[in-house]
Symmetry: C2
């Protein structure tokens, strides 16, 4: 069974609230990701040690480049992008129901530009707002948790047919 | 807060196992739905009274016709299709992780053809297999639960920006 977490386990930036980072580069939430390939969904519930930092419903998407590579088990070529659309949720009569957006997380592959973080650029946008990036130190806040997934090119998500 | 259930609460056909219905018409799981608009996700967990019949992770998609209508709050024109890709899930350290496919549910709008069921054709395919339709009586197994949603053209899902 897959055990993926697209976002960094020790990120904690959502909990940090309104402390916005200066954008490190041109990373931004892409406009059309809800028409991209829907990779999978995960819910980080209250019982999880990750709830404080990344609790919510994680809807994960990837672009055409990423989709093809994902189906082959990686590695991921430049221009691969993963988007996690992070939403709140409510529990209604035993069902977990999607709520409003909390944030959008982005991973963009550019082997040269992001050499120091496994070839991936990372950013997290509060409420999905391109003007509210939350990650100031991707190496510490994101890549540290992705590093153990080196055998899958630092990506937690796997292909579910 | 939305309270939707795309599948019929009293369906029970997944629990019925290998009892396959004769296909009532040309309804089939569409090939490309994972590139359609991802509407939302819901998890029907073990605590739900619906778990026996439709337990699992419901990933809901709609085609371009449906997407436009959904954003306006309905009604839905002919050729609107909704797909629920129903997967199992596991709970790992407080996180709900998507598992393999259990079934694909389809709703297709054709006001004339499906007049007796609100203009919608319904079908559920075991494992997503087009040769394993499970619904023999859409009026009873599906439409009966959708009927109270008449003010949203019998669709439970609402648009989450």
């Amino acid at each position: 069974m897959q055990t993926w977490r697209l976002l960094c386990a020790t990120l904690g930036v959502l909990a940090a609230g309104s402390l916005h980072a200066e954008p490190a580069d041109t990373l931004a939430p892409p406009a059309d990701y809800r028409h991209w390939f829907h990779v999978n969904t995960m819910i980080v519930d209250k019982a999880s040690p990750l709830f404080e930092s990344i609790g919510g419903m994680h809807n994960v998407y990837t672009d055409a480049v990423g989709e093809a590579a994902l189906k082959k088990g990686g590695p991921f070529p430049d221009k691969t992008m993963f988007v996690t659309d992070l939403h709140g949720f409510t529990v209604q009569e035993g069902s977990y129901v999607e709520g409003p957006r909390k944030a959008i997380a982005v991973m963009l592959k550019d082997a040269k530009k992001y050499e120091s973080t496994g070839g991936w650029g990372f950013q997290l946008f509060e409420g999905g707002d391109p003007n509210k990036p939350l990650v100031a130190d991707a190496a510490k806040q994101c890549f540290a948790c992705h590093e153990p997934k080196k055998d899958h090119d630092y990506v937690f998500s796997t292909y579910i047919p």
